[in-house]
């Protein structure tokens, strides 16, 4: 029973990890909470959904469409809502507010244009789970886990092994010094949002397949934030660890305590971490600089 819950927790955590990674990426470079991240995920999920149902493309292509679409949307959002503020060196509070406005806009625009109803993804895989010993593992859960691992490996390779990735790391360390070294901050911001959007796009499709697609899916940003805080804000490995911790905590709380109060336990987890270890499980303490 416990092992079954851990399997369930990992499958939930995998989706959270995809969302949290993009969120953390933006945070690490630009130092603000991108509240519209969840809404990019929602749009990616709709893109994947319509690609599958309206265009009838194969599943792999649908994921690619969702990734590309969500990445481009995130890039455009950065250009419209964040770049002017960044160039003006506006306080971070303003960036946060702008992100919140963007989130309200995207969510309600979707409600008005596409409609507020829940939509279920068509079945891509047979729903029958297969058994490993006493455990039953859903085919969908397994596939979600595999896709997550692939995307995370790709992202790791991009960030730690390529030139642009090293530039992103430098910018995350210190944007000003990085720009003195000949790194174009605008290009970095664009790349970061493209990457974050693309991971959100995959996350959206996977989340939509596991549950449903609906316009206020973006509220999941809260979960991504909790995962990122638990793991250490701004740290990519931290975001992944935090996401799995969060997923397992949630499934255990739902299974053994009360499913109605599942979300309360997520907040509780975050509060405990904030009080006990403000830098998160894998984060480093950063002193605020003048």
């Amino acid at each position: 029973m416990i092992w079954q819950q851990i399997v369930n927790g990992i499958s939930v955590g995998a989706v959270y990890a995809l969302i949290a990674v993009g969120y953390s990426l933006v945070y690490s470079v630009l130092n603000f909470s991108n509240f519209a991240h969840g809404d990019v995920l929602m749009l990616g999920s709709y893109l994947g959904f319509f690609a599958l149902t309206k265009l009838g493309v194969p599943f792999g292509l649908a994921i690619a469409i969702a990734m590309l679409g969500a990445g481009i949307i995130a890039m455009v959002i950065e250009k419209i809502a964040y770049r002017p503020l960044r160039l003006r060196r506006a306080p971070l509070l303003y960036l946060m507010i702008s992100a919140m406005g963007m989130s309200i806009f995207l969510q309600n625009f979707t409600i008005v244009t596409i409609g507020p109803n829940f939509r279920t993804y068509p079945d891509v895989l047979p729903t029958k789970p297969f058994a490993v010993g006493t455990l039953s593992i859903g085919r969908l859960d397994l596939m979600i886990f595999i896709i997550t691992v692939i995307v995370l490996l790709l992202l790791t390779w991009l960030v730690y092994r390529t030139k642009i990735g090293i530039a992103i790391q430098a910018a995350a360390y210190n944007m000003r010094v990085a720009s003195l070294m000949g790194i174009n901050p605008d290009l970095i911001a664009t790349m970061v949002f493209l990457l974050a959007g693309a991971t959100a796009g995959v996350g959206g499709v996977l989340f939509g397949m596991k549950y449903t697609v609906y316009p206020w899916m973006g509220v999941l940003t809260i979960k991504a934030f909790i995962a990122a805080v638990v793991g250490g804000l701004g740290s990519l490995p931290g975001a992944v660890v935090g996401a799995f911790v969060l997923g397992i905590t949630e499934t255990f709380a739902a299974a053994y305590i009360s499913s109605a109060f599942r979300d309360l336990f997520s907040y509780l987890l975050m509060t405990i971490i904030i009080i006990a270890r403000p830098a998160g499980l894998m984060g480093t303490v950063a002193q605020e600089k003048a």
């Binding site: 506006a90 946060m96 804000l233 975050m270």
Partner: protein
């Protein structure tokens, strides 16, 4: 027809009370609160339960809701206000969602997601108007006092404020408590005006609506908060047709304001005899120069 306008006036006052607290907390002290609806819910439910279960008189129930919301804000602010803005914003959002969850699941006390019907409607326009004007006056004075200036110092540069011996944490906590009390009061009035409450009235859309009002009016101006509450409450009532697009417009408005005019409609301009005289003098000078 006059009843209709009185209704809009009452709703404006309800929103204004909640926006006033938010203006102090987010606009003047610089802590971005994302869960104002949660405090309203606490105020609404506590005051309703007081009138319906305990048969408390209306002013006592209002005070109860106000105090309950204030008491909630203290333990909530204690761990979160010390941290960076993002944590605080999410913590308040989490608080509002958690409140909604608790209310939805304590069915025996709160009626669950169906809510509490037939609450005695006690809110009348003269009373709420008097209370609101009193609160506007209080906040206006608080903001222009030494304490208010310290709040602004916290917003502008926390490190510098600390360096000149401003207890930043205490000022944030006081702002948060005042904000909680005002939102609780607003919730109590709302419940006793509509005569019906349910958890979905206090969701994320309500919080975003309130914070949009603060941003629209001018982050650093009490007058702006008042003006924005009036415009953004009355306008949707008049433009009923476009109600679906209301929140879309709010979102676009917030982004546009942040990009083009981050200080909001009024910026830090306040309505007072002195500022009006200044406006009159400079306006006349400009007029004379033209003619």
């Amino acid at each position: 027809m006059s009843g209709y306008f009185a209704g809009i006036a009452i709703l404006t006052c309800v929103n204004l009370l909640a926006v006033l607290g938010l203006s102090l907390l987010t606009g003047f002290t610089g802590s971005f609160c994302f869960g104002q609806a949660g405090f309203m819910a606490v105020g609404a439910y506590v005051s309703t339960l007081m009138t319906m279960r305990l048969h408390a008189p209306f002013p006592l129930a209002l005070l109860g809701g106000c105090l309950a919301s204030l008491l909630v804000s203290i333990p909530l602010g204690y761990p979160t206000l010390r941290l960076k803005g993002d944590y605080f914003a999410i913590a308040t959002l989490g608080f509002a969602e958690a409140t909604r969850l608790v209310v939805e699941n304590l069915e025996k006390i709160t009626g669950g997601s169906r809510g509490i019907p037939s609450i005695p409607t006690r809110t009348s326009l003269p009373v709420i108007l008097a209370v609101t004007l009193f609160c506007v006056w209080l906040i206006r004075n608080y903001v222009s006092s030494r304490h208010g200036r310290n709040c602004v110092a916290v917003r502008e540069d926390q490190l510098a404020a600390e360096a000149i011996a401003v207890d930043t944490f205490r000022y944030k906590q006081v702002s948060f408590a005042i904000n909680g009390a005002l939102a609780g009061l607003s919730g109590g009035f709302l419940a006793h005006y509509v005569g019906f409450i349910q958890p979905s009235m206090f969701g994320i859309p309500k919080s975003t609506e309130l914070i949009s009002m603060v941003i629209f009016g001018g982050m650093h101006s009490v007058t702006g908060a008042v003006l924005a509450s009036i415009i953004l409450t009355a306008l949707p009532e008049v433009l009923r047709v476009a109600s679906a697009w209301r929140l879309v417009t709010y979102g676009a408005l917030v982004v546009t304001i942040m990009v083009i005019r981050p200080e909001g409609l009024l910026g830090s301009w306040e309505l007072s005899i002195g500022s009006l005289r200044e406006l009159w003098v400079s306006g006349r000078r400009r007029f004379l120069k033209q003619s």
